[in-house]
Symmetry: C2
């Protein structure tokens, strides 16, 4: 019995139940995020994505129409993961609002360090690489930053209620500024291979907040 | 006689005098800058670069060992061009230091607008695309930012002498912060297809400068 299963596996025909399909799709998206974050969209071949998680090409086309459609799904997948991370730091935390923002930034620095500063932010990478050549990607990536911006805006509003930030500050504008600078800092950290640019941006961002 | 020249040209054998070579090299670098800034390094094929300026492949390999070596020369070419631009705004200008910095930023916004926000900063683009996968590029790109940073640092020091900026400010650190945020702003402007992110970063940058 065990023998039969082994042979089937060797033929690359796993049982096609719902769970397997779900796992394969998730595995492809995860593999895509990892490779795209490090190497970029155009440099990452489909075969490499498949090989990394041992999924046959047929399965890929079962879930995704083509590489472009896969790219759009990857943006959603990464954004969902990232929004969970933002919520964990900014909403679920017991910390005062500005300290929760600080904890998010420190978490990001640790994340960069864990991968030797080789992986940046997938959304920033794709924006730089594809934002001006593909309108579907451009619009999608812009919409992701609007969602992320709202989370920082809410945190700044909370800081106002806590008396840690002046009520005269335009939270939406400051949240927009946060992402502009933070994405720049992540890019520079990839280049310097250390957290100094991210640390410097964090320091200056907090320094400019009026109480 | 004219006929003979035409036939020679058709065979792709231009007269090989010094001037032609110089022009061809310059044309290749310019073509590379334009295409790489818009499409990125990996998406731009050698044929496309050659076709744009009508230079045969043989000439390319006369000047550049391979595409990677060409990329390194492009970084130098772009950086030289950019340093001239920085000097024009920051050193040659009759304006007070901080106003000269403002004029540089406004010039950059006009430049982005001229190309419909499709071209960003070549150095920022290449840093994002290649910074973590190719050590030669990473080191080269980092060294470019160090040069650019020095120009902003000198301008901030000049602002101190003019009494427009507190002497307690760390000019080097602030110049570093400038490039972190400015590159992020250029990337976001490519995404929103307008100058709003660059304008917002400029506004916040000047707002945080202590007098």
């Amino acid at each position: 019995m065990t023998e039969t299963i082994v042979i089937k596996a060797k033929r690359g025909r796993p049982a096609k139940n719902k769970l397997d399909y779900g796992n394969a799709k998730e595995a492809l998206l995860r593999s895509g995020v990892e490779l795209l974050t490090e190497k970029g969209f155009n440099s990452t071949g489909l075969d490499e994505i498949l090989k990394r998680v041992n999924v046959p090409k047929g399965s890929f086309y079962h879930y995704f129409k083509n590489k472009e459609a896969f790219g759009i799904d990857i943006i959603d997948y990464y954004s969902d993961y990232f929004v969970k991370k933002l919520k964990r730091h900014l909403i679920d935390s017991e910390l005062p609002a500005l300290e929760s923002l600080q904890s998010f930034m420190e978490g990001a620095m640790q994340g960069m360090d864990r991968f030797d500063y080789k992986r940046g932010c997938l959304i920033g990478n794709m924006a730089q690489e594809l934002g001006s050549s593909n309108e579907n990607y451009r619009a999608k990536l812009e919409s992701v930053f609007i969602i992320w911006q709202r989370h920082i805006e809410n945190t700044l509003d909370q800081a106002k209620r806590e008396g840690a930030l002046s009520k005269n500050v335009d939270s939406a504008q400051l949240a927009n500024f946060f992402w502009i600078g933070w994405e720049g800092a992540v890019m520079h950290s990839k280049l310097t291979q250390n957290k100094q640019p991210m640390e410097l941006f964090a320091k200056q961002f907090f320094a400019l907040l009026p109480i």
